[in-house]
């Protein structure tokens, strides 16, 4: 099986879907000759032509609204945002039109919006955000956040196949940092199934995206101390694998919810609240949350490091849980 970076896995998966399904097309700024801001679609226009790999004007609303219209006519648009941050310019179209259309008219809106997200490289307040929590609150949208090349590929195929609007958050900081084995043949990964990134029985960390790797490093450190931490990678937030999370909570009795998005009202609150409500009797300690502080993402490396949850923060929190 070839080893691919996370971004290669995304690119390969998208190409594969476009080859097998004529209805799939790509719409976004600079996706054509330039191959997209992160080069995910490099070479695509040569293979699929200018209409299936379409450079759009600087118009997030027209891109997402246009994708919705094309989907209603039977195509399978994959829209690209240059940075997840810019999806704020199409918020209304996702929330008002795409998310509610099936509920109202029973016409499915099978669109995928690819959203390069996350910090870690001094992108500053507008090129580093993780806006998945905002969308996870909107009924009608599905939220996908792969953490590995293997999941990135399988979940993209599932996203394109899904008959609903899917927001596919790809973490920029993983693009070239994470490699892994990825089958060449097509495969899908069902939504709503968490992945056990690491096994353990002493505590469970529930997380997703780049934080899976942060948690993993922290768990490795603690393994030396004889404290075995399970890491559950949710992979999709909507739907999220509540059953699997509760199972782990029951077994481990201590739980840390970790995410890179800001804390207040982040999706971690939903997970923690659910655990507190449904596994109350199984908890040996309070459900702890670690997340970014409630500020915009700062630019300066000194500040950004303080903003992003670090391995040390996770280690410390797990040690406190261990001692509880």
């Amino acid at each position: 099986m070839p080893e691919l970076t996370y971004i290669q896995a995304i690119s390969d998966a998208l190409r594969q879907e476009m080859r097998r399904d004529q209805r799939v097309f790509v719409l976004g700024q600079d996706v054509g000759v330039y191959g997209g801001a992160f080069k995910v679609t490099l070479g695509f226009q040569e293979e699929f032509g200018p209409w299936r790999v379409m450079d759009a004007p600087l118009s997030e609303t027209a891109i997402v609204g246009g994708a919705t219209g094309a989907a209603l006519m039977g195509l399978r648009p994959v829209a690209e945002m240059q940075f997840a941050d810019f999806i704020s310019c199409a918020w209304d179209h996702l929330v008002t039109v795409a998310a509610k259309q099936f509920f109202r008219g029973r016409t499915p809106v099978p669109i995928v919006v690819r959203l390069p997200s996350g910090g870690g490289f001094s992108g500053g307040p507008f090129h580093s955000q993780n806006p998945e929590s905002s969308f996870a609150h909107i009924p009608g949208l599905k939220i996908v956040c792969p953490a590995t090349p293997h999941d990135a590929k399988g979940l993209l195929a599932t996203s394109i196949e899904d008959p609903n609007p899917v927001l596919y958050f790809e973490h920029k900081h993983l693009y070239r940092r994470i490699k892994g084995e990825v089958p060449e043949e097509r495969y899908t990964i069902p939504f709503g199934q968490a992945r056990v990134h690491r096994e353990g029985d002493d505590a469970v960390v529930v997380t997703w995206g780049a934080m899976v790797h942060t948690a993993s490093d922290a768990a490795d450190q603690l393994a030396g101390e004889g404290f075995e931490v399970e890491i559950l990678d949710l992979r999709t937030l909507i739907p999220w694998d509540k059953a699997r999370v509760l199972e782990s909570v029951r077994r481990c009795s201590k739980v840390l919810v970790l995410h890179e998005d800001t804390r207040t009202g982040g999706f971690g609150a939903e997970i923690a609240a659910t655990i507190a409500e449904e596994a109350f009797e199984d908890l040996d300690a309070p459900v702890v949350r670690i997340a970014a502080p409630d500020t915009p993402v700062p630019f300066s490396p000194a500040l950004e490091k303080a903003f992003l949850p670090q391995v040390e923060d996770v280690v410390k929190s797990l040690q406190e849980l261990a001692a509880y």
Binding site: P57, G66, M73, V97, R104
Partner: protein
């Protein structure tokens, strides 16, 4: 590419050349009557407390809506708005389903999930509006994009009001359509008021259609009370788009003949304005034309009137028979499953 003001329509001969025979003309008249009748009936039902929420009508816009819809091809699609009941009627949405929609019944196109004219008939090429105006314009452009990508000879129509022309969605969609010369026709229902806002507080130029020049396509202003002129302009624009000629912006000038919605008495509209436009009521205007140009007889008129009346009575009866939706299904209807894609428009 300056904006063009469309001529009024003259003789039967001219109209025949535009592709409408006498049957078509009587059909158009019937559609306009049904449109008005449904909204008048809705008004009564609302006052009787049988329609929950608010209630909007398109009185004065019947010719614009029916004229445009008549010009659409069978496989064309559109996203009509709250003044465009005539589009639904012309495309064949059954009146009883509309009344059921008003009443929040299971038999309405949204099964009580949404109200008013927020309704879909995808099998007839109509997709439901959202309240947020004019968010359906980018959607219509996306439909046109799908046609272009697939090489379908189909056209998408997107409606908007002169008030909502101010929103970014209008701009982004027209710009993208212009850049890509997509087969889309933009229809502006210019009824001179956006809620209480007069045109001069909404846009600083003479015609909304003037803006077509900013997007590299043609604009035309047509008297929205002249159903045949509307039809002619819409037909020309739709066929142009179908031939690859790109978008057109058609502005249908009318007056909103009632308040913004049923709660609004429109005190801010000058009385003379209502009087002036009442004198060119689109239905009466077309009736007169049919009598003098197409020899519509008393018998024919009576027959149409009674057909419409019967239709409405049946519709009300059937709508009232339709049950209120069952709340137990509410949460299941948010996400589509694979089978839901198994419809003609998703092939």
């Amino acid at each position: 590419m300056a904006v063009r003001e469309a001529e009024p329509v003259g003789s039967l001969q001219e109209v025949k050349e535009a592709g409408l025979d006498r049957e078509d003309l009587l059909g158009i008249y019937r559609h306009m009557l049904i449109t008005r009748a449904i909204e008048e009936r809705g008004h009564i039902l609302y006052r009787q407390g049988k329609i929950p929420g608010s209630f909007y009508t398109g009185r004065g816009n019947e010719a614009a809506a029916v004229g445009v819809a008549t010009a659409m091809g069978p496989n064309d699609v559109g996203t009509p708005l709250h003044r465009d009941m005539g589009v639904h009627i012309t495309r064949g949405v059954e009146p009883w389903r509309i009344i059921a929609q008003y009443m929040g019944r299971e038999g309405g196109p949204t099964r009580g999930r949404d109200g008013n004219v927020h309704m879909a008939a995808p099998e007839l090429g109509l997709h439901p509006m959202v309240s947020h105006l004019p968010a359906m314009l980018p959607v219509a452009v996306g439909m046109a994009l799908a046609f272009k990508i697939r090489g379908d000879r189909r056209v998408a129509l997107g409606w908007f009001g002169e008030g909502s022309a101010a929103r970014g969605d209008a701009h982004e969609s027209m710009n993208m359509a212009g850049v890509r010369q997509l087969p889309v026709v933009f229809i502006c229902d210019n009824n001179q008021w956006a809620y209480s806002t007069p045109t001069y507080l909404g846009y600083p130029i003479e015609h909304v259609a003037d803006r077509a020049a900013a997007y590299g396509f043609d604009g035309v202003v047509v008297d929205g009370t002249d159903v045949l002129a509307v039809y002619r302009e819409a037909k020309a624009a739709i066929e142009k788009a179908r031939q690859g000629g790109g978008p057109t912006l058609i502005e249908c000038l009318t007056l909103r003949m009632e308040g913004h919605a049923v709660h609004d008495d429109a005190f801010y509209v000058p009385k003379e304005m209502f009087e002036q436009w009442a004198a060119q009521d689109p239905i009466e205007r077309f009736r007169t034309w049919l009598r003098s140009n197409a020899d519509m007889t008393d018998d024919e008129e009576d027959q149409i009137t009674s057909v419409v009346k019967r239709l409405l009575n049946d519709a009300l009866e059937r709508a009232e028979e339709s049950p209120l939706p069952d709340p137990s299904g509410l949460e299941q209807g948010v996400y589509a499953s694979a089978e839901d894609l198994d419809t003609p428009h998703h092939k």
